[in-house]
Amino acid sequence: MDLLTVKNLTVTLATGRGDAAAVRDLSFTVGHGEFLGIAGESGSGKTMTALSLLGLLPHKGRATGSINFDGREILTSSKREYRDLRGKEIAMIFQDPMTSLHPMLTVEVQLTEHLRHHRKVSKDAARQSALELLSTVKIPAPEAALRAHPSQFSGGMRQRIAIAMALACEPKLLIADEPTTALDVTVQAGILKLLHQLRKERNLSVMVITHDLGVLSSLTDRIMIMYAGSEVETASTSDLLQRPRHPYTSGLIAALPGHNDVAKSSSSKRLLSIEGMPPELGNFPPGCAFHTRCNYAIEACKSALPERIQLSESHRIYCPVDPFSGKAGIEVAQ
């Protein structure tokens, strides 16, 4: 049994022009100790997916389907049950540490408040584990750091503090929403290294959400690619990066700097970048949402939702076209 099993998750947001689906019929799993990457452009629904796991959708949002976490159905949880889950069993790291830490509360308060709330530990015990957490995430002088406010730290240090905050109650699942996007490139490497290390030291399942496939390449076991609220391709990291099958995936990989050593074998050189813009929420094209930007789209793509095609046990795509043969139809396994 996987730690997290999401089935047919659909998230709708009420907008000025009626309901719009931000996430459409999404199914995926995260195993115990597994690192899953979810990648897609902004507006692909990846953040809404994460927020629905925590029951933190904006108040105009609604989720349907099924989310099974650690053997329990949680999508139907009450507010209270969700609160007991959040921070304790599922924790989240947000994109921008400059805004996700409270500017007016000390690091100690922010590191210990949920620990004391969930585990009912004493102030001193909470402080002790806060100190340990700070050394785990390699904050120098943890004693002094506890008394400080976030404004006294650099962006990278703040993200380390945010990670420490997320780890405080030893959650089973950690959701990291663009954990490195807001940081300098040099600092990014440090944060990725830290996540690697945590992976080795703790039995932690992690869901990393990003628009940057480069971040995921060294970190995750599997990657799911999303477009306009739907899954388009899922595969093991190496499979996905070396043998992408969906035109959108190839496009993302082609857009990576230095992608040539990854995907030079194929005829994907034409896919240097993806033309156009991702569709706006509430304005997703019919059929395969990607067809408006796809060089391989056939007539069927414009009207019918693409079927799931299982290429191998771990590799599946939602696309009837094989860009590498240029032919429509299913050409399983290369």
């Binding site: 304790k88 409270h102 509360l105 000390t106």
Partner: protein, 359 residues
Amino acid sequence: MRTKPISEEKSQRKRFLSGNGFVPFILRRLLTSILLVFGVTFISFSITQLVPGDPVAANLGQSAYSNPEIVAAFKKQFGLDRPVPVQYVKYVAKLMHGDLGVSLSSKRPVLEDLKEYFPATLEIALVAVFLALVVGLLLGIISAVTRDRLPDQIIRVFSLTGVSMPAFWTALTAFYLFFFVLGWAPGTGRLAPGADPPPTVTGLYTVDSLIAGDFSTFRQAVSYLLLPAIVLAIYAIGVLTRFTRASMLEILGNDYVRAARAKGLSEFTVIRRHVLRPALLSIITVAGVAFSSLLAGSVLVENVFSWPGLGQYAYRAAVGLDLPGIMGVSMVVATVYITMNLIVDILYRVIDPQMRDVS
């Protein structure tokens, strides 16, 4: 009512009062405040001089005004025979020694007048601002937390109504209802006619009667005070409710609030610890400004309740073209405004660690 920080020029003043510590900061602010008070005297002096209007005619009766000797004596007595710039310099020179001049309408030193009238207004204004803070904060928080749902919509209409009611009419309607119809309010003035005010210590009858241990006067002072204070508070309640709601909503949209919720804290804790604290920063500013605007707003309310306060005095001074009186009132209100701003700035430094750390 707007928040207007008067401390934009920090960088400019650095040259002669440099340093970012607490004391130089206070000194800098005090210096600007004093300049500001002088600015207030200068502008009220200039404007009332620029517009036509004859204070002599306004303060002397018809027959006295037609007698040139009396007019000349009046002018000499109040220094009105000198050129305007000289009048102003004289005024400022006296001001340095704490002399605010002599009122044309009451013929008494303005300082004496202010000592008598200001506490009366201060008393209702303090009660009003306290009411406004309690009710306004509470309603604003409820409104923000229940955003777009029924309680929010009701509170929004109510608070907007509060800032739309003409204070003089509210005063009149409330007086009719609670005095004439229901008989709950005791009447106009600060105490029952003929009742002796408590021995003056602060000038606030409630405080003074408690000091004197005179509880029946205290109860009476409170009963006379309540209705004007509530009427005065209505506008401020509207302003504070609206402002609290707006700043709460702004804070609620922040990432750090979502992060706090992601920790599984109770909604109460999230609001109290993560939202209210930063929201209070801006609310304090508005409360400070609201207080000084209450002093000015009391003009209309005092008129209806015959409340012998600053507003009534200001009205008489204005109608009598009593320049020393007008300038005295202006200076009191401006000083309160500036002091409030100063206190707010200091509170900012105390509450917001970022300002402390950065500076």
